[in-house]
């Protein structure tokens, strides 16, 4: 749902609900930014062996040979 679609519903809210909505949105944005800041401060290693398909093919061959041998 887009903001223009939401606006009529938001404008129809009582004043107290509008204030509550502002608080909820502010807290939500602050939480996201806090997480983003913490992540930005940390070096996150990515260990996944992406695209190691040659290695994967070798492992499959080893498994097949193991199956034949056992």
């Amino acid at each position: 749902m887009t903001l223009p679609e939401l606006m009529p519903s938001i404008e129809a809210l009582p004043r107290a609900d509008k204030l509550h909505l502002i608080q909820l949105l502010a807290a939500d944005v602050a939480r996201d930014e806090a997480i983003a800041r913490e992540l930005a401060d940390k070096a996150v290693p990515i260990w996944s062996p992406y695209d190691a398909f040659d290695g994967a093919a070798i492992l499959l061959r080893a498994l097949n040979e193991d199956k034949v041998a056992s």
């Binding site: 992540l39 260990w47 996944s48 062996p49 695209d51 190691a52 492992l59 499959l60």
Partner: protein, 138 residues
């Protein structure tokens, strides 16, 4: 056949909570009479299973006896890796043969990737609920 089992995501950095949550499963790796139980990362983006050097030693694997060299990618590309076959037991499911790229690197987690963990187990992720489900292949 055993029904699929649900596991919770594990927050690896408590200060980040759910932002650092990853799908780790307890897995026992066995070779002959020796075994080691590890917490292994279920990684659907990994082309293959990977095992850090120190963990491979615990069930008695000997580096010099592993004759099949492998070339890895990403952070793992810098160090040598060799193929290692172990018997893996997850939860109460029947044991399976798992083929690992055994790397000289000790910083890497145990990674369960497409070859051949995802060929042996059916996995569903429910990240929004911080759960994932693993069961034997059908």
């Amino acid at each position: 056949m055993a029904a699929a089992q649900q596991f919770p995501y594990v927050a690896v950095d408590p200060s980040l909570g759910a932002a650092s949550a990853l799908p780790y499963v307890p897995l026992t790796l066995q070779r002959a009479e020796l075994s080691v139980t590890v917490s292994a990362l279920v990684d659907s983006g990994a082309a293959l299973n990977a095992l850090p050097y120190g963990i491979g030693l615990q069930p008695g694997a000997v580096w010099e006896e592993q004759m099949i060299p492998l070339r890895l990618t990403g952070n793992l590309a810098a160090l040598e890796a060799r193929a290692l076959l172990l018997t893996g037991t997850l939860d109460r499911f029947p044991s399976v043969r798992l083929a690992f790229a055994w790397t000289r690197n000790n910083d890497v987690p145990v990674i369960l990737g497409q070859v051949n963990f995802f060929m042996e187990f059916d996995v569903s992720f429910f990240r929004s609920r911080l759960l994932f489900e693993v069961g034997p292949k059908k």
